[in-house]
């Protein structure tokens, strides 16, 4: 193996595996490698251990109904930066079994479960292959192309039936008795006992029981209704006294099959739909989706639009980090004071968003090839005022009152520790990964838009505990201010959209993956187009969903009170976790 191969292995990768079970994906518009499923584990191990692709960022699958097969798609990266290694396994639909990569990349855990749940591909060797987003006992796998939802009308929108005489009709109204809800044959909802719960509870780790005192772990369901789960999220914890023995996150209470709906939508209809994922960072979601589709279309974004995009993305990051820090303090038991102070500036940023996009939270601001409206000089002045005056002052307050607060430090230092190796293996992203000391930031590792021209530092922590996550977030706000200052200085005038605004875009067939460094981690969209007006496959790499994989390893051995804070430091938004 020469040095050139090691540095840039992708060009000559096929030659490294002479037996022929690794092929280049040569379909038009596709890239990466196709691996035979018998050799997947061997391939993945080689790539991880010998070539340094230690970070498995995304696992998903897409259904090619006409060809009768599934593609299971993997995106792996090196944490030192560089392009993706894309590898796929093709399996026939009748025999949808793939070896699990959890043993190599523990971060694949939830993602494989999601693929099993929604696509029905079984991962052999997965330690805990249960449904994750749908309820146990759900019939079928909804992302399969031949699965039809209860109120199914047509494959793609716009549905013709919705405006028979120019008037919209709601599909639910036409079907008042819900008579197309399908139950599995022989299913009696009255008698049904969900076996999922027993599976869930039996999966919990236990310590050895003390026979002498007849002690046993206490199992507590924290959630779905619980004040500090940040939404309808549930943690099943087994406790010994106040100590956590094991924890299992249960999610999907807010699941709306985002991806299926998005596959029915047209490409542009999905832009506002991405706002609803992580509803606190709609601009970043827009950004990633726009990048993915633009990659397929081969669009070049005008200079000014790029500046505006980055400006908005960084303001979103500032806002999100304020929000996350404030509510972390809430989880520590400060009665709302810190969070209310922290989101004071967020309101001003939301004012700016409202002024430019018309909406405070669901911005729907990006378009393929640019942004939808120009930013006026007054708005730029407001932003200028924010980053030169108000936000630095707020950060000084943070430093003065929080950073060295005795109680904050004793409760956060050394709690919820994730080592760098663990953080990489668990595919965590964003501030969590960086707080563990891994300087991985998509803006630097795989620069998009104009980030390669901007000057900023990638912030890392040393200890990987909650306190470092807090410090990283605060420092990232400072870096974002730096970026915004550069943008304000350099922003050119010019057009803000490539081409004319259009309701229907033409997207050539092929696949693409667009990712940005969102405030919560790597936000990515995997899009497969078949040339039609709607995406064939639309997958969201939801950062907080994958970050949650690390919740259980971080929580074991900590106290009940800490779990809440650990969860708060992951900074989840259930709209994105459950999709």
């Amino acid at each position: 193996m020469t040095e050139a191969t090691l540095i840039n292995p992708l060009d000559t990768l096929v030659d490294q595996f002479p037996s022929g079970w690794v092929k280049k994906d040569e379909r038009p518009g596709y890239s990466g490698f196709i691996v035979e499923r018998e050799h997947l584990l061997e391939f993945a191990r080689t790539m991880r251990d010998d070539f340094g692709f230690d970070y498995l960022s995304m696992v998903t699958a897409s259904d090619y109904l006409a060809e009768g097969k599934f593609d299971v798609v993997y995106y792996a990266y090196k944490t030192i930066g560089g392009p993706a290694l894309i590898f796929k396994v093709q399996v026939p639909r009748e025999d949808a079994v793939v070896p699990s990569l959890v043993a190599l990349y523990p971060g694949a855990d939830f993602q494989e479960r999601e693929v099993w749940d929604l696509m029905g591909i079984r991962f052999e060797g997965h330690p805990d292959l249960r449904r994750i987003l749908m309820w146990e006992g759900f019939e079928g796998h909804p992302l399969r192309k031949d699965w039809k939802e209860p109120f199914y009308e047509e494959d793609v929108k716009p549905y013709k039936s919705r405006w028979p005489e120019g008037k919209p009709v709601n599909a639910d109204d036409r079907n008042p008795f819900n008579d197309n809800v399908q139950y599995p044959t022989g299913f009696d909802p009255e008698r049904w006992v969900p076996e999922a719960e027993t599976l869930l509870y039996s999966g919990l780790q236990r310590t050895t029981h003390n026979e002498e005192f007849k002690t046993d772990e206490l199992i507590v369901n924290m959630g779905p209704q619980h004040p500090s789960t940040h939404g309808v999220f549930r943690m099943v914890v087994s406790l010994q006294g106040e100590k956590i023995v094991d924890l299992k996150p249960v999610m999907g209470y807010l699941h709306r099959n985002h991806e299926k709906i998005a596959e029915r939508n047209t490409f542009l209809q999905n832009m506002p739909f991405t706002d609803r994922l992580d509803y606190t960072t709609s601009m970043s979601n827009n950004f990633a989706y726009a990048l993915a589709v633009e990659k397929l279309m081969g669009l070049q974004v005008p200079e000014r639009a790029d500046y505006i995009r980055v400006l908005m993305a960084e303001l979103t990051r500032i806002m999100n980090h304020f929000f996350a820090t404030g509510f972390l303090l809430n989880d520590l038991g400060v009665y709302f004071t810190a969070s209310l102070y922290a989101i004071e500036e967020r309101e001003l940023i939301l004012d700016i968003f409202e002024e430019i996009s018309g909406s405070r939270m669901m911005c729907n601001y990006f378009r393929f090839g640019g942004v939808v409206r120009d930013v006026s000089d007054e708005v730029l002045k407001k932003i200028h005022n924010l980053v030169y005056d108000r936000i630095p002052r707020k950060l000084d307050q943070f430093d003065a009152y929080l950073t060295n607060n005795e109680i904050l430090r004793t409760r956060c230092e050394g709690v919820g520790v994730l080592t760098a190796d663990q953080a990489i293996a668990l595919s965590t992203a964003g501030p969590i990964l960086r707080a563990s000391g891994v300087p991985y930031d998509v803006r630097r590792a795989d620069p998009y838009s104009i980030y390669d021209r901007l000057e900023f530092d990638v912030i890392t922590g040393n200890h990987g505990d909650i306190y470092d996550r807090y410090l990283v977030r605060v420092a990232e706000i400072k870096e974002s201010i730096k970026i915004v200052k550069q943008l304000l200085r350099d922003i050119p005038s010019g057009p803000i959209l490539a081409g004319k605004p259009a309701y229907q875009v033409r997207v050539p067939a092929g696949e693409s993956y667009g990712r940005v460094e969102g405030p919560k981690g790597e936000m990515g969209f995997y899009i497969v187009s078949n040339g039609k007006p709607n995406p064939e496959r639309y997958h969201v790499r939801a950062p907080t969903f994958i970050n949650l994989t690390s919740l259980a390893p971080m929580s074991r051995g900590e106290k009940v009170a800490d779990v809440v804070v650990i969860l708060g430091a992951i900074d989840i938004v259930l709209g994105e976790v459950d999709r």
Binding site: V220, S228, Y335, T337, N405, I407, V560, A561
Partner: protein, 335 residues
Amino acid sequence: MDAGMIWEWIIKSIFLILFMTGGFAYVTLLERRVLARMQVRIGPNRVGKFGLLQPIADAVKLIFKEELIPAGADKLMFIVAPVITVIPALIITGVIPWGTSINLFGREIALSIANVNVGVLYIMAVTSISVYGITLAGWSSNNKYAMFGGLRSTAQMISYELALGLSLVGPILLAGSMNVMDIVQAQKTLPFALLQPAGFIVYFMATLAEINRAPFDMPEAEQELTAGYHTEYSSMKFALFFMAEYIKMIAVAMIGSTMFLGGFQGPFVDQLPWLGPVYLFGKVIVWLFVDIWIRATLPRIRYDKLMALGWKVMYPIALLNVFITGILVVLTTKR
């Protein structure tokens, strides 16, 4: 013991209970307004002028809410627990003097309900049994969060009661009496907070733990235990817990003011005895404000750290304080 005396007692007791319950209502308002101000908000200001009728509106709302008793609960205990919680809170201030005595309707009326010889011990006894309500509420709810809340509060009470009791020994030694009136009179020139700074601080922290106020509000730590021991309570039964918490807050403020801040003592109180209650009231308000301020400022301490603080820091400090105070008292007393 004539009939007038008994009437005087009854009227004073009723007045005390009304004062405590009314005080509870307005301390909630005070807390909400002060917290709001500290959090750049406005707070309740719609019901009545400055929101002054808000507590009444809340009470009406709570009375008309549905009473729920969980199916698996121990019904008797579930109903009795809130009552057991409120009663100690209401009776604990019975030994606190409001002033010396005033002349009203031609009668010399002492401004205290019971001037007992072992007043401080009475306070200790009542505080020590006040934990039962919370513990039983947690146990009888048949709910894991409530259970945790009950267990935590029991452990917390036991840990902090010792420090609390020892912190009160300082004033007893200095005054040479367990009679609360004597202790107040002994502070005529100098409040004991200045002579007993360590005892005062220990008392303040221990009472925060004792009444489950932030940053020691473990038993009802919202972020972990939803609402702790009163998770399953609704309507008036919930209101009773709420009431007990705030009445206890007033009570410890009154006791603390009396034991360490000179109680009703103040300038000109000898000439104008009705100034006594005013001074006490003012001290209590300041004390409550500090409590609220702390709640708005500090994060919650973790449970195990709280226990460690109680046993390994506060208890030894209190013990040492008693030791040193005792020696100094013996050395300085003229025989």
